[in-house]
Symmetry: C2
Subunit: 230 residues, 2 copies
């Protein structure tokens, strides 16, 4: 019987690639998504639609409400920044403690499933401004997870938090996924899509994605309103 | 202006005492409760009713659903154990990753509030079977929190997870609370109350509470169906 892994899955390019890596590593993938009051809820519809197609054994959507905290352009009534130059500060789209919360739910599900592996598609290069995308955060969470659980009391540090994309560029992520047979038409990245679900091409997430495909020398197969300033 | 602290608050004896300690330490207390599909949802009604009365500056109830994971008598369709002798194994009422999830939300709220202190009323003596009630878990969470957040990137380890009850017996908790003027009529502990909200007197939580009051030499002011085998 295959070992189980919980894979945090948004329906986006990174988490879809991450799931392909988990499956290539021999795991049965249990996909976990979050309905957290994000403005781009089309992301969630896509995740529901794509999860089985990309090989998840099961897909769980956890309802949580981060909007009541405020504090992020992704959940509060702030404008998503467009055509913004990269800089070193923490972006307005950062959601407080988001990955901590997501990984905590993944840990709870893993404990119930008897899984000891959790995959998260965080990336330290393209998202250097997000504190909870850094290797030292992942390592500290893993350490905490092994003290938080039955297995931590009864076993010998069994949990592993896998973040296989953490040191890859977007182009490297795309090339890795293509090598594993990922169909990137079954992914969605835009923070601010049209009502029909077409990606804007101008938000941070679209710009990173388009830049990644350009650098990988491959055309992005999804539809955009505009492919933006090149 | 007083410093803010997020206090995890269930409406129970421990978290109410914890809030009194936070306030005595000079913090403005932001109470956070969770609607997590617990069978004892009367706990939540009591928490809503009591939060302001015991001095919370604000009270937030976060809706999450841990029932979908199963795995605990507190959230799944299992019987709450009654009149059960204490033993060393992890109790059936343990909810996977519960304190990890609760503290993660508290961290998110703290980050938005600009608070750097989180209080949690865990207890390592009376709940020795719960892995996420141990000092080493709290310490690992604090370490992780300081890597997960803006302050972790920009500051110098500002977050403190306070667990002032962790080494106290239930009787010591009660005496501490009484010294701080806590009115224990404004607390609720039972895992399996009657429809009218009367405590059963027989579940683990009631038994620990009643034993604590006996050892403190004080009568528990709340009403019980039975005060159980003494």
């Amino acid at each position: 019987m295959k070992k189980k892994a919980v894979v945090l899955y948004s329906g986006g390019l990174d988490s879809t690639t991450c799931m392909a890596i988990a499956r290539a590593d021999g795991f049965e993938a249990y996909a976990m998504s979050f309905a957290y009051g994000q403005r781009h809820s089309v992301e969630l519809e896509k995740a529901r639609e794509y999860a089985a197609k990309i090989g998840a054994a099961s897909h769980q959507v956890v309802q949580i409400d981060l909007r009541q905290f405020g504090g992020s352009a992704l959940t509060a009534a702030l404008d998503v920044p467009k055509d913004q130059a990269a800089n070193d500060s923490i972006p307005i789209t950062y959601v407080p403690a988001r990955n901590t919360i997501f990984l905590s739910f993944a840990l709870g599900w893993a404990e119930v499933l008897g899984a000891f592996d959790i995959f998260i598609g965080v990336n330290a290069l393209d998202y250097s401004g997000y504190p909870d995308c850094r290797p030292e955060f992942i390592s500290a969470f893993e350490n905490m997870a092994n003290l938080a659980t039955r297995a931590g009391v009864e076993g010998d540090r069994p949990y592993t938090i896998h973040s296989p994309l953490i040191q890859l560029s977007k182009a490297e992520i795309i090339r890795t996924g293509l090598d594993l047979g990922v169909d990137y038409r079954l992914t969605h990245s835009c923070y601010d899509p049209t009502v029909a679900g077409i990606s804007c091409g101008r938000c941070d997430s679209c710009r990173l994605r388009l830049k990644g495909f350009r650098e990988a020398g491959v055309e992005d197969p999804i539809e955009y309103v505009t492919r933006g300033a090149q």
